[in-house]
C-alpha cells in the first residue's frame, strides 16, 4: 500500500485497500458527517482492524467470566490486575505475535516480548517474569508427519532458532526472567508459528495507573524512542489478514525492538510515576500513536489534541499518516498534571529518553491531530474507539468425517515390553527436555525464581518483602481443540490450573490468548465459539476469572487454518513461599502415590482385547498415539471439572501441610513420562549427581499403553515419606480424591513399571535421561 500524502482523495476503493468493508466505510462517513481524508482513513482502518477492534470476537468474549473477589482490573485495560494481599497486586497478560514471528522470527519475537512488558509497566507494575507459549512446525521427520519436506523441517528449525534468540535477547537484556511456558510441534504451525508471550508484574494496589485521560488542559507527553516508518500497518495488515505467498514482502511491516531503550523506559516510567504528576499513561503498541491517543481520550470521556510536528522523529519527511500509524517500539504516551510537566520531563531526561509535550487533553471528545498547527485529522474519539463494527459472523460446525474404529489407534498385545516405545516417546520434541531452549533465557535475574523451567509444573517467583510467592503456568493443546474445541479449551484451563496447584499454589485468575484461523470461515467461528464456551465453563468451575488477553485471528496460510489453539495462563498464589513444591523425587524409599480427582471418569466397559471404544477413541488423540502410531484421531479425554477442582484443592492442602516431597501432574505422555521426569529432575539436588529411580507396580484392567501413556486429566503423582503416608491418604480422602500407592522411589538407578505383574518398562534411569535430555538439541543440530 502506498503511504499517501494528505492530498489523496479518499474513495471507497482506497477504503477497501485499507481493509474497510463498504458498510464499515459508510459508518466512517456517518460518524464524521463527511468523507475522511487519507490520514483519518488510516486511523479508522487500524482502529477498526480485527487486531485492535475485536470485531469478530467481541460478541463471544462477553460469555467469559471476568469478575471475581480478587479481580482489581478485568479486560479492557493494558493488563489484568488481581489482588495478591499485603497491599500488592499482580498485573499479567498474554499476547500473540504470530505473523511477525513468521515473517521475521527474531524481531517478531523480540517485539512480542517488548509489547507485553510495556503493557505491564504501563499499569505501574514492575515486570518480574515472562513465559512463552510457542508452537512450531515439525523439526524432525517423525512418523506422524510423512508429508513434511526436509526444506520445511529446516525452515521450522530456523524459525525456532530465531524466535528463541529473539525472546532471549529481549528478556535477558531488559532484565526480566523468562521462566516458563511450553513448546509444541505440529505440521499445521509450519507456515504459521505461534508466539504467545505472557508477562507478570508486581505493583502496589494504591499506586496503579490507568489509561484514562482527564483534566482539560493537562499536557499530553510523548516519551521513549523516536518514531520511524517501521511497523506501519503492522496491526491491520500483518495481524488482521491471512498469509499468502507474498507475505514475505511484509517484512517492512515488522517492528524492530531495542530492549535497552525498553529498560530505560521501564525505569523512567516507574520513577516518573512516583512524582505524583502522572495522571494517565498508555503504551504505544499496535496502531501506535493512533491507538494510544484514541483510547486514552475515549476511556476518560475527553478529547485529545496533539501536534505531530512535535513528535520526535527518526526519519525526515514523514507524513501525518505515517506518524499516526507507525508502530515503532518502546514508546509511551502519558498525561501529566498541568504545571508539573517539568518534574516528569526531568525524569526522562535523566534516563536519556525523549520526552516532549505533544498536545493536551481537550473538551469536546475529539481526537484532533495537527501538523504544524494545521488540522490533519478530527475524529470523535469515543465512536472511533468503541463504536467500531461488531459482527455476529456465521457459524457452522465443520463436516466431521465419519470416524470408525479403523481410524483409531490399535493397542499392542498385552504383556508386550514397551521400553523401546517409551524411549521414542521421551525423544519426541514435545516430550523431551527443553533445557537447550530455556538455558538461553536468563531465568534467575531479580533473584526471585524459586522454580526454574523444568523444576516444577509451574514457574514460581517469590515476592520479596512478603512470605508469598506466585506461580504461573500456560497451557493449550491444539490437537485436542482441533478434535473438540470445547473440551480442548476446558483441558487447557484445567491443565494450567493443575500445574499451578502442583507447585502448591491456589489458582486465582486467568489470561488467554486465542489463536484461530480466519473468522470469515464459518467453521473457524464455530471452533472459536465452542472454545469460548469451554473456557467459560472451566474458568467458572475452577474460579479463575479471565482478566485479559488477546485474540489472534487469521492464522492461516494459503487457505489452511492452524489448529484452533486457545492458550491459557493461570496465576496462583502460595501463601508461604517455603512450601513450594517441585517435581523432583527427593528420597530413596519415598512412596509414590497417584492422586486422581476423577477416578470414575475412566471408561470401564471392556471388550475381549481389553479395550473399549471410548477408551480407544480417547487414546487416539494422545501424544503416544501420534508419536508411536502416527495417528491423530478420536476425541480428547473426557473431562471432569469438579474432579479437577478436587485434585487441585487437595494438592494445595498437601503443599500447605508439607506432607509431600514432590508433585507432578500427568499430561503429555501420561503416567510413565510423569514418573520418569520426577526421576530426571532429582539429579541436581543430589550430591552424587545421579538420578533417583522408581519401581512402579500397577494393577489396571485397561490396555498397557492406555494405563501408562493415557493423558486423562485430574491426576498427579506425588512422593511421600513413609512417615507422612497416613496424613496424605487422609487429606486425599477429605477432598474426595483417590490416592493409590503405585510404587517407591529407589536409589538403584533403575526405572521400572510392572503392570498386572508383567514388566512393561525396565531401563536404567541414566539411559532414559540421556535420550530425554539431549533429543531436542540433537535434532536441531542435525
Amino acid at each position: 500500500m502506498a503511504t499517501a500524502s494528505a492530498e489523496i482523495k479518499v474513495t471507497a476503493e482506497i477504503a477497501a485497500e485499507h481493509g474497510l468493508s463498504a458498510p464499515e466505510y459508510a459508518r466512517v462517513q456517518q460518524i464524521l458527517g463527511r468523507d475522511p481524508n487519507i490520514t483519518e482513513l488510516g486511523i479508522f482502518s487500524v482502529m477498526w482492524s480485527e487486531h485492535c477492534s475485536y470485531k469478530s470476537s467481541k460478541v463471544h468474549l462477553k460469555r467469559l467470566p471476568v469478575r471475581g473477589k480478587l479481580v482489581v482490573q478485568g479486560p479492557g485495560e493494558n493488563a489484568g490486575v488481581v489482588d495478591i494481599g499485603d497491599g500488592l497486586v499482580a498485573a499479567f497478560k498474554i499476547e500473540s505475535h504470530n505473523h511477525p514471528s513468521f515473517v521475521e522470527p527474531f524481531q517478531g519475537a523480540t517485539t512480542g516480548v517488548g509489547g507485553i512488558l510495556r503493557d505491564i509497566f504501563t499499569m505501574g507494575a514492575r515486570p518480574i517474569a515472562v513465559l512463552d507459549s510457542l508452537r512450531f512446525g515439525p523439526i524432525t521427520p517423525d512418523h506422524s508427519t510423512p508429508s513434511v519436506s526436509p526444506e520445511s523441517i529446516a525452515k521450522n528449525r530456523r524459525i525456532l532458532d530465531g524466535v528463541i534468540r529473539g525472546i532471549a535477547n529481549y528478556g535477558n537484556s531488559f532484565g526480566v526472567p523468562t521462566i516458563g511456558g511450553e513448546v509444541c510441534f505440529e505440521p499445521c504451525y509450519s507456515q504459521n508459528p505461534l508466539v504467545n508471550a505472557l508477562a507478570l508484574g508486581i505493583g502496589k494496589k494504591a499506586d496503579l495507573f490507568f489509561a484514562k485521560a482527564r483534566g482539560t488542559g493537562n499536557p499530553v507527553i510523548y516519551v521513549g524512542a523516536k518514531t520511524g516508518r517501521d511497523g506501519i500497518h503492522g496491526a491491520s495488515l500483518l495481524a488482521s489478514a491471512e498469509f499468502t505467498e507474498e507475505s514475505q514482502q511484509k517484512r517492512p511491516n515488522v517492528q524492530v525492538g531495542d530492549p535497552f531503550v525498553e529498560k530505560l523506559l521501564l525505569e523512567a516510567c516507574l520513577e516518573a510515576m512516583t512524582t505524583g504528576a502522572v495522571v494517565a499513561i498508555q503504551d504505544m503498541g499496535a496502531a501506535g500513536l493512533t491507538c494510544s491517543t484514541t483510547e486514552m481520550a475515549s476511556r476518560g470521556g475527553t478529547g485529545i489534541e496533539i501536534d505531530l510536528a512535535r513528535v520526535p522523529q527518526r526519519e525526515s519527511g514523514m507524513t501525518p499518516y505515517e506518524i499516526m500509524l507507525s508502530e515503532s517500539q518502546e514508546r509511551m504516551l502519558l498525561v501529566a498534571e498541568k504545571g508539573r510537566e517539568p518534574e516528569v520531563l526531568q525524569v526522562f531526561k535523566k534516563w536519556g529518553l525523549d520526552a516532549v509535550v505533544v498536545g493536551e487533553v481537550a473538551d469536546g471528545g475529539l481526537l484532533r491531530v495537527k501538523d504544524h498547527g494545521v488540522v490533519v485529522a478530527e475524529i470523535p474519539a469515543h465512536p472511533l474507539a468503541e463504536e467500531g463494527p461488531a459482527y455476529q459472523r456465521p457459524i457452522a460446525q465443520p463436516m466431521q468425517n465419519k470416524e470408525s474404529a479403523a481410524d483409531w489407534f490399535v493397542f499392542a498385545p498385552e504383556q508386550r515390553n514397551l521400553t523401546n516405545n517409551f524411549k521414542r516417546l521421551l525423544a519426541s520434541p514435545v516430550i523431551s527436555s527443553k533445557r537447550w531452549i530455556t538455558e538461553q533465557y536468563d531465568t534467575m535475574v531479580r533473584t526471585n525464581t524459586l522454580a526454574v523451567p523444568g523444576a516444577g509444573d509451574a514457574a514460581v517467583v517469590r515476592i520479596k518483602g512478603t512470605k508469598r510467592a506466585l506461580a504461573l503456568a500456560t497451557d493449550g493443546n491444539g490437537r485436542w481443540c482441533r478434535l473438540n474445541p470445547r473440551f480442548g479449551a476446558m483441558h487447557a484451563v484445567a491443565e494450567a490450573a493443575r500445574n499451578v496447584a502442583c507447585s502448591g499454589a491456589k489458582p486465582i485468575a486467568a489470561t488467554n490468548c486465542l489463536n484461530f484461523g480466519s473468522p470469515e470461515k464459518p467453521e473457524v467461528m464455530w471452533q472459536f465459539s465452542e472454545a469460548i464456551d469451554g473456557l467459560a465453563a472451566a474458568c467458572n468451575e475452577l474460579e479463575t476469572p479471565i482478566t485479559g488477553g488477546n485474540v489472534s485471528f487469521y492464522n492461516e496460510t494459503l487457505g489452511s487454518s492452524i489448529y484452533p489453539t486457545p492458550v491459557i495462563g493461570i496465576l496462583g498464589v502460595i501463601e508461604d513461599a517455603t512450601n513450594v513444591l517441585k517435581m523432583a523425587f527427593r528420597n530413596d524409599g519415598d512412596i509414590i502415590i497417584l492422586l486422581d480427582g476423577a477416578p470414575a471418569s475412566v471408561p470401564t466397559a471392556v471388550n475381549s482385547n481389553g479395550a473399549n471404544s471410548n477408551l480407544t477413541r480417547e487414546f487416539s488423540s494422545s501424544e503416544y498415539s501420534k508419536t508411536i502410531g502416527g495417528i491423530v484421531a478420536g476425541q480428547p479425554p473426557a473431562i471432569d471439572l469438579p474432579g479437577e477442582k478436587r485434585l487441585q484443592q487437595c494438592l494445595v492442602a498437601l503443599a500447605c501441610s508439607r506432607a509431600v516431597q514432590s508433585a507432578h501432574d500427568i499430561s503429555d505422555g501420561g503416567l510413565a513420562v510423569t514418573l520418569a521426569e520426577s526421576c530426571f529432575a532429582s539429579a541436581p539436588a543430589r550430591k552424587s549427581g545421579d538420578s533417583l529411580g522408581a519401581r512402579i507396580t500397577i494393577e489396571d484392567r485397561s490396555p498397557a499403553e492406555s494405563a501408562l501413556f493415557g493423558e486423562r486429566g485430574a491426576r498427579a503423582a506425588v512422593s511421600v515419606s513413609p512417615a507422612s503416608l497416613d496424613a496424605v491418604l487422609q487429606t486425599a480422602r477429605k477432598y474426595g480424591v483417590s490416592a493409590k500407592q503405585i510404587g517407591k522411589v529407589t536409589a538403584d538407578g533403575i526405572f521400572s513399571i510392572e503392570l498386572n505383574r508383567s514388566a512393561i518398562i525396565e531401563e536404567s534411569v541414566e539411559t532414559l535421561h540421556d535420550i530425554w535430555a539431549h533429543s531436542l538439541e540433537r535434532a536441531l543440530k542435525q
Binding site: 532471549a168 535477547n169 535477558n172 537484556s173 531488559f174 532484565g175 531495542d258 530492549p259 535497552f260 531503550v261 529498560k263 530505560l264 534516563w351 536519556g352 538455558e439 538461553q440 533465557y441 536468563d442 531465568t443 534467575m444 535475574v445 531479580r446 533473584t447 525464581t449 524459586l450 526454574v452 517469590r462 520479596k464 513461599a577 517455603t578 541436581p684 549427581g689
Partner: protein, 236 residues
C-alpha cells in the same frame, strides 16, 4: 562500612546485588548513578551485571566512559575494594582495571545455568573466608564470558596468582564439560596484582539463599565484609 552498587543505564542485576548486601548480609548499601562524580564515601564498590548502555559496540565498551568510572578508577588505584560481576567484570576489563578480554561464548549462545567454580586463591579480600580449592555452585548468565589473554598476560596472571576462580566439574576437576563458555585455562574470575579489584563472570549475588538453590556465593561477600572490618580496625 558501606557498599555502593553502581547503576549504569541498562544495569539489571543492580537490585539483586543491593538485595544481597542489604537483606542477606545486612550491611549498609546504596546505589551510585553512573553520572556521579564521586562514590558517596563507600568502602567497597560493586559493578553489577546487566547490559550497560545496551552493551552496544562491545560489552562494557561504552560503560568505561561513564563519568562514575573516573572515581572508580581512582578508588581502585588507592586500594579500595572493587568487585565486577558479569557485565561489571566486562566493564573492568574494558576500563583496563583488569587484564585480558572476553569473547562470545564458544557455543555462540547465551547460557544461564548453575555451574561450579573452584577457589584458586583464597588470599584475596574477596575469597579470604573461603578455603583453597573450595567448590562453589553459582549461576552464570551471559553471552560473552569466554575469557582470553595473550600468553604474556596469562603468564603474569599465573605468576602473580591473579586467577581467583576456575570453572570445574561438580567434584572440582578441571574438565572441558565444566567450562561453559570456552574460557582460557577455565578462568572464571581474576584479580589485579594488588588483589583489591576482582571480576568474575558468575553471579554470586544470585547464590546467597538456599531458596535460590545455592548460598555458595555468600562467601565472596562475607570475605569482603571481613576484609573491610579488618582494615577498619587497622586504621582505627
Amino acid at each position: 562500612m558501606k557498599f555502593g552498587v553502581v547503576v549504569f543505564p541498562g544495569s539489571n542485576c543492580d537490585h539483586d546485588a543491593f538485595y544481597a548486601i542489604s537483606n542477606v548480609l545486612r550491611q549498609p548499601v546504596e546505589f551510585i548513578w553512573h553520572q556521579s562524580e564521586d562514590l558517596a564515601n563507600c568502602d567497597a564498590v560493586i559493578l553489577p551485571g546487566g547490559f550497560a548502555h545496551g552493551d552496544y559496540l562491545r560489552t562494557g565498551a561504552l560503560a568505561r566512559f561513564s563519568p562514575v568510572m573516573k572515581p572508580v578508577k581512582h578508588f581502585a588505584q588507592s586500594g579500595g575494594l572493587v568487585l565486577g560481576i558479569c557485565n561489571g567484570f566486562q566493564i573492568l576489563l574494558e576500563a583496563g582495571l583488569l587484564p585480558g578480554a572476553v569473547m562470545r561464548n564458544i557455543g555462540l549462545r547465551y547460557i544461564c545455568r548453575h555451574i561450579h567454580i573452584r577457589v584458586e586463591n583464597p588470599a584475596t579480600p574477596f575469597t579470604q573466608a573461603a578455603a583453597q580449592g573450595q567448590i562453589l555452585k553459582i549461576p552464570i548468565a551471559h553471552n560473552d564470558g569466554n575469557y582470553t589473554a595473550d600468553p604474556q598476560t596469562l603468564a603474569e596472571l599465573q605468576k602473580n596468582e591473579q586467577i581467583v576462580f576456575r570453572y570445574c566439574s561438580a567434584d572440582g576437576k578441571d574438565d572441558a564439560a565444566g567450562n561453559p563458555n570456552g574460557s582460557l585455562e577455565n578462568i572464571a574470575g581474576i584479580c589485579n596484582r594488588e588483589r583489591n579489584v576482582t571480576g568474575l563472570m558468575p553471579h554470586p549475588e544470585r547464590a546467597v539463599e538456599s531458596a535460590l538453590d545455592s548460598a555458595d556465593g555468600l562467601v565472596i561477600f562475607r570475605s569482603m565484609v571481613e576484609s573491610l572490618v579488618t582494615s577498619a580496625k587497622a586504621s582505627a
